[in-house]
């Protein structure tokens, strides 16, 4: 027969393994909800179309920044570079907005040869340029309001 101490240890080890199972299961769900590690973020962005690296600069009306004018993040400013900007609630978005009416990856703003274009990424509640809901990528000019849920953004010089 085994000693009581051994049996006690076996018992505790078994309970620990049971809980390990539950904790790992919760971990799987967590990754399912929020995505895991930076590795996945990279993978998520890679399928985006590559934009020309350096947009020709020096045009008169070229915007330099993206400003949030309304909504929870009002006042936030993002400097524009040649990289596309993804707006949404997901952690890997460039501009993470905490807005109940926004989707995970809601919209993308990118530069197409110096012209800035906004594109809806299949969001639930839609992206509005002025009064119109986007159905396909549309060029944006400086000062034109882009509405996502309760958040309004615009390009500034």
């Amino acid at each position: 027969m085994l000693s009581d101490l051994t049996l006690m240890l076996i018992k505790l080890a078994f309970l620990a393994v049971l809980w390990l199972f539950v904790i790992m299961a919760v971990g799987v769900i967590r990754t399912d909800l929020f995505g895991s590690a930076p590795r996945k973020t990279k993978r998520a962005r890679s399928p985006e179309p590559r934009r020309p690296k350096a947009a020709p600069r020096g045009r008169r009306n070229e915007p330099r920044s993206l400003v949030v004018t309304k909504g929870p993040l009002a006042g936030t400013t993002l400097n524009l570079s040649s990289h596309p900007i993804v707006i949404g609630r997901a952690k890997d978005a460039t501009l993470v907005i905490n807005d109940d009416y926004a989707s995970g990856r809601h919209a993308r703003i990118y530069s197409d040869n110096g012209r800035w274009v906004v594109e809806d990424l299949g969001s639930t509640n839609g992206t509005y340029l002025g009064q119109q809901r986007l159905t396909r990528p549309q060029p944006v000019s400086v000062g034109q309001p882009i509405r996502i849920g309760k958040t309004v953004l615009e390009l500034r010089k």
Binding site: L15, L18, F21, V28, A44, A90, S103, R105, S123
Partner: protein, 468 residues
């Protein structure tokens, strides 16, 4: 909300996560066997290898099968079911084989039923490509549910065990409990029915006001017909004819949950619960079996009730409560307790055996595993795009959760003991098979829900090629 989340992340299969979880689940099972053997006899159980190879091999095969035929399925469904089934198997082995109690069957029959269930699981996942096709035959499903429920009433075929007439005997195979499968057929029928009748059930209403205050939106009289039929059927047939309170409660609960999911109107629940409890209150002095159950629940510790005649006393319930109290926080260790003091512990009361030997810590794991299974099912309902699948997935997961509640609530004396089994855990072939069938349906539905939709033509490449 769910759309926002599901578009937020790139679709992932996560089959390797499933494999890791499954290996851990098999490990838990083997550990349970080993611990029970070591504690009881001081040696590893002789059948450990055979059980391990059969059970582990079968669940790994199921995993490989999912990899090929349902690669987008939720990664947690199979491991959660496997760990529950494995724990149940180990506990049954410990209760019957390790104590030399061969009268009540053995873990081997449970293992055979596990094998059969996993094969049926694979067949369903393989053949039922679109669960939507089940939507086509709601009334056939309803009819088969009724037939299955009434089968035990046929003289010669039906068997009465412990006062409830819910088994049929099949020569050469033993006994089956057709009501387990009737539940699934009923969920299919209700999903199909609710999809077509959803609007009329949720919109047409009469508003009851006292002064300017809105009290409740009552449905129109004629729309209450399905509710009345379900209620009448559950009450009259189940309670009066077959004394099967558990199935009756489960069916009516599932019906209420599904009508609520379809219409989002609380008035249905209020009406349904009021009608059900009204009928229970009216019937319980009249139906002997029913009043016994209520009596043993309310006055369980009364000596007269405890020592009452066979089948009408509260011995099982009280001993189960003491067994769980004996377990305390950490339990006595698998094999270390005396769960055999509870009569028929391997069936409905298996939870008390877990309570005694694994303690509160282990019971919480079982409850959490069941809860996670239900949560994954509800998540499928949220993620799916089809109304029928939404209804079906939420119906099945509610059924699994409610069944666990009815059993565990019964053995812990929260509600009257009604006679149902914890999904996947308890001994019983038909119950196990029915649970695995429900799991197969969930796996198939989650595969279809999580599979990424074909790329829209507007996206990315295609547009650019045309514009060039």
């Amino acid at each position: 909300m769910s759309d926002a989340l599901s578009t937020a992340l790139p679709p992932v299969k996560r089959r390797n996560a499933e494999l890791v979880m499954l290996l851990l689940a098999i490990g838990v099972t083997l550990f349970a066997f080993a611990e029970a053997g070591l504690t009881r006899n001081g040696e590893l159980p002789p059948g450990l290898f055979a059980y391990g190879v059969t059970f582990g091999g079968l669940s790994l095969l199921a995993h490989v099968f999912i990899r090929f035929f349902a690669p987008w399925a939720d990664p947690l469904l199979l491991p959660l079911a496997t760990v529950l089934n494995g724990l149940g198997l180990a506990m049954i082995w410990r209760l019957l084989d390790a104590t030399g109690d061969t009268e009540n069957g053995s873990a081997m029959s449970q293992l055979i039923w596990t094998a059969i269930s996993m094969i049926v699981f694979a067949l369903i996942v393989f053949f039922l490509k679109e669960p939507r096709i089940l939507q086509r035959y709601p009334y056939i499903m309803a009819l088969s549910a009724v037939v299955l429920l009434l089968l035990p009433l046929i003289p010669g075929l039906g068997m009465t065990i412990n006062g409830a007439r819910q088994w049929i005997s099949i020569p050469g195979l033993g006994s089956m409990q057709p009501s387990e499968f009737a539940k699934i057929a009923l969920v299919i029928f209700l999903s199909g029915y609710m999809v077509t009748k959803r609007d009329v059930l949720s919109l047409a209403s009469r508003r009851v006001k006292i002064g300017p205050v809105k009290i409740i939106d009552l449905p129109r009289m004629r729309d209450t017909a399905p509710m009345a039929v379900a209620w009448g059927f559950c009450i009259i047939v189940m309670v009066a004819l077959m004394n099967d309170l558990g199935t009756s409660l489960l069916l009516f609960g599932t019906f209420l949950a599904m009508i609520y999911v379809a219409t989002q109107r609380s008035s249905w629940i209020i009406i349904g619960l009021a009608a059900f409890f009204g009928a229970c209150l009216a019937l319980y002095p009249l139906v002997y079996h029913f009043s016994v159950r209520v009596d043993t629940w309310l006055n369980a510790f009364d000596p007269d009730v405890y020592n009452g005649e066979l089948g009408a006393n509260s011995q099982q319930l009280v001993r189960g409560l003491f067994a769980m109290g004996e377990g305390g926080i950490l339990g006595t260790g698998l094999g270390g307790g005396k769960p055999g003091n509870v009569p028929e512990v391997q069936n409905d009361f298996i939870f008390t055996a877990f309570g005694e030997e694994l303690g509160l810590t282990g019971c919480m794991v079982i409850l959490l595993t069941l809860a996670l299974l239900v949560q994954r099912g509800m998540r499928i309902a949220l993620a799916s795009r089809e109304l029928f699948v939404k209804m079906f997935a939420s119906g099945i997961s509610f059924l699994l959760g409610f069944q666990s509640f009815v059993v565990i609530g019964g053995v812990t004396r929260v509600i009257p003991m009604t006679g149902a089994t914890i999904p996947f855990v308890a001994k019983g072939g038909s119950a196990l098979l029915a649970s695995w069938i429900m799991l197969a349906l969930l796996v198939r539905m989650s595969n279809n829900a999580r599979k990424p939709a074909p790329q829209a033509i507007q996206d990315e490449g295609a547009t650019q090629v045309i514009s060039r």
